[in-house]
């Protein structure tokens, strides 16, 4: 480990230093990660943050109760803007929920080992974001008590849902995504929960983590199937994560509204989702790694890699914006042309330019190595990107709806206090779940981090062939068979 000249804290193209910085071994990784959860005295800062987040969650619940009592008239919706904050929030949160599975599935298949430092964190964030997302389509229907009609369950009405509706595809896509992400996250956590169980000092912890860890005992016969299952889940989750936001984009693209009815939507939405998801991971991990002392596990190199993903996906999003404009002009459709000119210069021009600034211009700062290594730049940029991505969905949804084919039916959407507090409350729910996660569950995938440490790699005398981490199947019996004892000495 010390023989390498590469500074592991930073990314050096073409050179591979160890992923865990500092003088760490398996013991210190366990101690660092478990220590956060095992700290008997909950930090005061956690209580402060939790009180704030839980307060906002309470506001969310109150807003939902008010909505249910009064109907969706309490939102600023009107004719023609029938979708506004509700669906904007839905698409925003689903988008954020894409980074976790991208990191754990797609980067896994691409053998990006640095993902091990941040995948648990990102997966947890994914699940909490999808919880927030799932809330909005459920509450935005006028008659919430019949929301279960979206599921194909036999009823006395003998009516089945219309499977040709993209809105129903959405129900299936988002609920599948939720369940698969949850299984992926939980399965990854089982060995780490077993670690917590075996270190538990109190009876309650022993029982709680004991139940959660399902009796995992680290048997290699189990690890073997576990890894097969992990690989299969990654292979299944990869097309899934790409499909979810594609299906979300069909909600718009399948309609005939100018500004929505474009074929670029699925890839454009997926790139945007990954972009916003990575930004949210960054916003959360920068304070967490500093506060919980994880700087040697989540190093500057991880952050630098994330900056590069943000730069790439942000530029893709920028390219999509430009392509939309080009096609609006090149397609020679008056309504489409008008819609895009209207976005940039009409009544919502302020929202449009916030979006362009935050999503296209801000990430360009990551072309410079200095900004990829400066914490405050990353933090501010990632927050701005989150703002920008919320506005992207707002611009797509509201500008297209507010001015469609007939000028006589044009309108303008203004949010009410209920709209704004519901949005704020959804952040409260997200952070409440997130704070509970960092307090009670292992924040870093210890088993996975250990398996990419140099100490986990057998030396060449023992290993012949490519025994790389995950998936590479080494040649059978590369460990030379020992000579059997010469005579019939039985054991």
């Amino acid at each position: 480990m010390s023989s390498t000249a590469v500074d592991p804290r930073f990314e050096h193209p073409g050179q591979r230093g160890p992923l865990v910085a500092g003088d760490n071994d398996f013991t210190t990784v366990t101690d660092t990660v478990c220590g956060i959860v095992e700290e008997p005295k909950t930090p005061r800062a956690w209580y402060v943050a939790f009180a704030a987040a839980f307060g906002l969650t309470t506001i969310l619940m109150a807003m939902i109760a008010y909505l249910f009592m009064e109907g969706i008239g309490v939102w600023g919706l009107n004719h023609p803007v029938g979708w506004a904050y509700d669906i904007t929030n839905f698409v925003f949160w689903v988008g954020i929920g894409h980074a976790g599975t991208l990191i754990s599935a797609i980067l896994f298949l691409f053998r990006q080992k640095w993902r091990t430092g941040i995948n648990r964190f990102a997966e947890a964030m994914t699940i909490f974001a999808v919880v927030c997302a799932g809330l909005f389509p459920a509450i935005h229907v006028g008659r919430v008590w019949v929301i279960w009609y979206v599921f194909p369950v036999p009823t006395q009405n003998a009516i089945w849902p219309n499977f040709r509706s993209p809105l129903l595809w959405d129900v299936f896509a988002v609920s599948t995504y939720m369940l698969v992400s949850l299984m992926f996250w939980y399965m990854g956590m089982v060995p780490d929960l077993a670690t917590l169980r075996d270190r538990a000092k109190t009876k309650i912890r022993q029982i709680a983590y004991g139940i959660l860890s399902l009796g995992w005992r680290g048997s290699n016969r189990h690890w073997h199937r576990y890894e097969v299952a992990y690989l299969l889940l990654a292979a299944l989750a990869t097309p899934l994560v790409l499909s979810v936001h594609s299906v979300v984009s069909f909600d718009f693209a399948v309609s005939s509204l100018p500004g929505w009815h474009t074929t670029i939507f699925p890839p454009y939405f997926v790139a945007g989702a990954i972009f916003s998801g990575f930004a949210m991971v960054m916003t959360l991990i920068i304070p967490s790694r500093a506060y919980f002392g994880l700087k040697e596990i989540v190093t500057m190199r991880h952050l630098e890699n994330m900056c590069k993903v943000i730069l790439a996906t942000g530029s893709m999003v920028g390219l999509a914006y430009a392509t939309e404009f080009f096609i609006a002009w090149y397609g020679a459709n008056d309504y489409e042309y008008f819609t895009f000119i209207n976005r940039a210069t009409g009544p919502y021009a302020w929202a449009y330019w916030i979006m362009v600034t935050c999503n296209v211009l801000v990430p360009q700062i990551f072309w410079f190595k200095k900004s990829r290594r400066t914490i405050w730049i990353m933090l501010i940029a990632s927050i701005l990107i989150n703002v920008g991505m919320w506005f992207e969905r707002f611009v797509i949804i509201v500008t297209s709806l507010s001015r469609d084919f007939l000028p006589s039916s044009w309108g303008y959407f203004t949010p009410t206090w209920v709209d704004i507090l519901t949005l704020a409350g959804s952040f409260g729910l997200f952070f409440t779940l997130f704070l509970l996660f960092v307090r009670f569950l292992p924040m870093v995938a210890m088993a996975e981090v250990k398996s990419v440490m140099p100490q986990a790699q057998p030396t060449p005398e023992v290993q012949i062939g490519a025994g790389d981490y995950h998936g590479d199947i080494p040649p059978i019996e590369y460990i030379p068979k020992r000579e059997r004892p010469p005579d019939g000495e039985k054991r």
């Binding site: 071994d25 398996f26 013991t27 366990t30 003998a158 089945w160 219309n162 499977f163 040709r164 595809w169 299936f172 896509a173 369940l179 698969v180 399965m187 077993a194 169980r197 075996d198 139940i211 009796g215 995992w216 005992r217 680290g218 048997s219 290699n220 016969r221 690890w223 073997h224 576990y226 097969v228 299952a229 299969l232 889940l233 299944l236 989750a237 097309p239 899934l240 499909s243 069909f250 210890m446 088993a447 398996s451 986990a456 057998p458 030396t459 005398e461 023992v462 025994g467 790389d468 590479d472 080494p474 040649p475 019996e477 590369y478 460990i479 030379p480 068979k481 020992r482 039985k490 054991r491």
Partner: protein
């Protein structure tokens, strides 16, 4: 090196020996030891590690898992059920009359068929892994082992079970001692 605690089975002791555990502190030592145990012909034994050690499956002689076949079947079931459900519900049991469009069109069914394929395949991968591993299993004799406590953190443990036909109290202990582990422990089943 010898087992420090309770080398002898005392008279009247109703505990039964589960096996002999030996601890290693490096991946290299573990891999070599596992290859030796494998070549010595033991069948009922296992290695306990804090993370999946690569190459250990071969060193232990573990065969390929059949999990992928299960997952393939579950995925195919999901696709079939998804298509069948949409066809029966929208084209047979409750026909949706929309602008004279056909009651069943393959392209419109693809998203839900795809999602159900993934859902069933992924669920079977997760539950199948647990089922093949007989998990959850909250009672296992190895939990009584002191050495095993660190096998989920930073040590590697091999345990040869007493039920193995080749197991012999003294010879197996000598054999394990020669593997170069750091410590040997006798693992007892719980008192009945």
């Amino acid at each position: 090196m010898s087992a420090k605690d309770e080398t002898m089975i005392r008279d009247g002791d109703d505990r039964r020996l589960y096996g002999l555990a030996v601890e290693f502190d490096s991946v290299n030592a573990l891999l070599q030891a596992c290859a030796s145990v494998r070549d010595a012909g033991f069948k009922k034994w296992d290695a306990y590690t804090p993370f999946p050690v690569h190459g250990l499956n071969d060193a232990m002689g573990i065969k390929h898992s059949r999990l992928p076949i299960l997952v393939l079947m579950a995925g195919a079931t999901g696709a079939g059920l998804g298509l069948l459900m949409q066809w029966w519900m929208n084209a047979v049991d409750y026909k949706f009359i929309i602008s004279g469009k056909p009651f069943f069109g393959l392209p419109a069914t693809i998203p839900i068929t795809f999602e159900l394929t993934i859902l069933l395949a992924a669920t079977s991968a997760f539950l199948g892994m647990l089922a093949f591993n007989s998990l959850p299993m909250y009672h296992h004799p190895i939990f009584a082992s002191r050495l095993h406590k660190r096998a989920t953190s930073d040590r590697f443990v091999i345990c040869i079970e007493a039920e193995d036909p080749r197991f012999d109290d003294r010879k197996t202990e000598e054999f394990l001692a020669a593997l170069g582990g750091t410590e040997i422990e006798r693992v007892w089943r719980e008192r009945r």
